[in-house]
Amino acid sequence: MSINDFVIRFANVNGSGSASANTMFAKALFRMGLPVATRNIFPSNIQGLPTWFDVRVSARGYLGRRESVDIMVAMNAATYEEDVACLSPGGYLIYDSTKPLARHLRRSDITEIGMPLADLLLSEFEDIKQRGLFKNITYLGALSALLDIEFDVITGMVATQYKGKDALIAPNIAALEIGRGYAQRYLSCPLPIKVRRVEAAGDRIMVDGNTAAGLGALYGGATVCAWYPITPSTSVAEAFELYANQLRVEENSGRRKFAVVQAEDELSAIGIVIGAAWNGARSFTATSGPGISLMSEFLGLAYFAEIPAVIFDVQRAGPSTGMPTRTQQCDLISAAYASHGDTKHVLLFPSTPKECFEFGAQCFDLADRLQTPVILMTDLDLGMNDSLSDPLTWEDGRAYDRGKVLSAEDLEAVEKFGRYLDVDGDGIGYRTYPGTHPDKGAFFTRGTSRDEYAAYTESPEAYEKNMRRLLRKWETASKLVPEAVITSSGQRAGILYYGTSATPMPEALDLLEEEDVHLDTLRICGFPFGKEVYKFIEDHDFVFVVEQNRDAQMKTLLVNEGELDPARLVSILYYGGLSISADTIQAQISEYFTQQKLPRLTEVKS
């Protein structure tokens, strides 16, 4: 008997309307107070290819992906074989028994729960399209009985979802009841795996990272958003526009205090962002790896011309289509060093929707303060899946840090304006917006060929001097990006991670504790790395670096920027395109201890 602890996988056909039914399932559990995490694994396809939707329920609040599946709702004949195979021994297979299960698919170590879904719907709905749509709702009804989900929570959700489209409410409820009625009459309900109302979710919300990031841009004061559609980042721009239309219109006129441009490509998107930022508006774009590649030339210009620009990079796997709708942390190097010439860019690494919101808003302050591009490095797993998050909060009265910008009055007081003079010793000059003053403060923006007064020069000394100043600015950046989050109990070994690799970490650490492996932890939140990151590495004999890419990109950045001995950093890598699981982390670390013949017991440093 297991309560509030299982993984259920829905295997569907893409485009069959399953995603909304499955989301409703997850949300119902969340509304019963359970910590839930969802993962939609979808193909680069609109209709027809297989898709899976995992919901993890964990009494202990673990939100990372788990390798094993306890309940399989197998609704896609094309993937029956692999779906049945991935069930854990003792698991439950829910399938449409209108057609009998092929003999070779049967397993003696699982429980088969057949429901004649097609037959049930045939008698109820005349329209074939409706039958397809309501199939998902019908198994949802059956699950409510099998797992003991409070039925009025689900019906309540149907009512809110179709508010205003009342004609849809009744048939949806009917479909739910068909499934529930069938299960109650013919199946043994509830199963030994079931749910029970708890208060574990607290005041938390369930939201995807992209929506939170879009809200972050809105609260962070972005007025120009230019973007080009690309999965998994599209919903960032869409969320920004949706909420801006609700919350950012001028009271009397109804006019918009923002502009959203769907550009013709990513080159244009970043160009618009840079043009707007140059002219003093907070602006951003949302993209993914291919977009970062296309934006590279412009990112270099923005670095040298010292223009604030905010980019939300929702990372995905490699090129073309297919794998790209899977998650990875694979753009670190291309984002950190994007472009020609000596360039480096500020990166932030959120690991929860709340951080997508907070870091998302903070990007704009950092970009303005540092006068340089700032890239928020999130990923598909965080961006597109609903997950449990602390509620979003904003401190009223918080001002925007617009950085060093001179007004007309400021300019009056300045004897000779020098755009690239390092007046304060932090590597950051003072900028002016176009049109500020009739006679003072105008300058011509170009890449690198200029002196401190923005006058044209190709002098080697001026160039090098400028490049050294940009390094001073980089140093300043390392103090301004969000600090790493450290937990330490004086262990010999540490573990370092960032972004969504943090999600399975509490579970992985618990699993390792059971094996007597104890690790201090550090979660990186920003690049350039602060001193605390190097100190943590220095303080430990060795440090595991967990990431979701093949080439250990974070390790590369650490080794390169900190001139570290690579041997002290042990990579724990997963790059299969699903999010990294606690099991993977635990297995690789355990293996390392075994191979290196390291003692498992805690050895606290004196």
Binding site: G221, A259, G271, G275, N279, W394, Y400, P434, R446
Partner: protein, 351 residues
């Protein structure tokens, strides 16, 4: 090359405009382009147009891509900010600049390589976006800054500096602009101040996208052996360029001809350009007619100049996006941040 500050001699007799400024107030530092380069004439025409319109010289955003032409914004309106951006991408930067502050006059300067080759996509889309700006192409049919390769506006059959014929069809930017919906389309010649200055003025005050394709000879890359056009003439009248890194100073090519008439211009590449100036009776509100006319004349070997089309009721990007009247870059946290109470409502939607 180092920046040379231009001595600002005070001329008490220089005429002042309505806001008490002289032409000098609209100029920039000395150009570093080749002497006689058509692009400098375009800059001078912009200076004159802005001064005559009495526009405040610091209220411009000057944006360009990369090329000799794209360098020119640093040589005019030095009281305004300028941005020499990325090759072929001026339209996107100009879009952003215009979105951020709708009150500034936006001038984009580009070349034929910048606009018709690497930047053709961005050009097409800025036209569609209806950005309120003056978009000038200094069209010399070649890549000046990278030393004389063919550009996409170069006529088929003409030969390059190395004697290779251009086998590809040219792109006619005014036809393209007309087709994809520019609300102000004109063509002129850099040396024809009488025509160019009024066109620039009209495009600046036009609300919407104002496009001027300015034929602007490159005097440096004129060594066109075997040109089908009258190379002999130019050889007899100018310094032949033999050493590739030596460019003799050339005279600026100017024209002065009446509306409704044609004029032959001897280009530095040895070709003869037959300009045909639209007469006053030309209907500038009929796009289809304009397109037809340009194409018909082109088939006859003539290059039509003048205002081809204008839609006085055109809308601009800000109208389409329904943005506030105040420039977006002036809005601060009180205008922009919805506050925590609103966020709590948003949170409620996620429960």
């Amino acid at each position: 090359m180092t920046f040379v500050a231009k001595p600002r001699v005070h001329h008490p007799k220089l005429p002042v405009n309505e806001i008490g400024l002289t032409r000098r107030d609209y100029e920039g530092p000395v150009s570093t382009l080749c002497a006689g380069c058509g692009h400098d004439s375009v800059s001078a025409a912009i200076v004159q147009a802005c001064a005559e319109l009495s526009l405040p010289p610091h209220k411009f955003a000057k944006i360009s891509g990369i090329g000799c032409s794209s360098k020119t914004p640093s040589y005019f309106l030095s009281k305004s900010h300028g941005f020499n951006s990325v090759h072929g991408r001026m339209p996107s930067v100009a879009t952003g600049a215009n979105l951020a502050n709708r009150d500034l006059y936006c001038i984009g300067v580009s070349g034929d390589g910048d606009t018709a080759s690497i930047g053709l996509g961005q050009f097409a889309h800025i036209v569609r976006r209806r950005i309120n700006m003056l978009y000038v192409v200094d069209n010399n049919g070649t890549y000046g800054l990278t030393k004389g390769q063919f550009s996409a506006t170069n006529d088929k059959g003409s030969t390059s500096k190395k004697g290779l014929p251009n086998l590809n069809e040219p792109i006619d930017l005014v036809s393209l602009a007309l087709q994809i919906g520019a609300s102000f389309v004109a063509r002129s010649f850099s040396g024809d101040k009488k025509q160019l200055v009024p066109l620039i003025k009209a495009a600046l005050i036009h609300k919407g996208f104002g496009f001027i394709d300015v034929i602007s000879p490159c005097v440096a890359f004129n060594n066109h052996q075997g040109s089908t056009k009258s190379y002999d003439y130019i050889r007899d009248h100018s310094e032949p360029v033999v050493v590739t890194d030596y460019f003799a100073a050339q005279e600026e090519i100017t024209v002065d001809y009446a509306p409704g008439t044609s004029e032959e211009v001897h280009m530095p590449d040895g070709s003869v350009l037959c300009l045909q100036k639209l007469d006053e009776k030309f209907d500038v509100h009929d796009k289809v007619h304009a397109l037809n006319y340009v194409q018909t004349r082109q088939a006859q070997g003539e290059v039509v100049t003048g205002l081809l089309y204008v839609d006085p009721d055109a809308s601009d990007c800000h109208e389409v996006l329904d943005t506030v009247q105040r420039p977006l870059n002036e809005l601060d946290v009180d205008d922009l941040c919805p506050g925590n109470a609103a966020l709590e409502m948003v949170n409620a939607g996620f429960r």
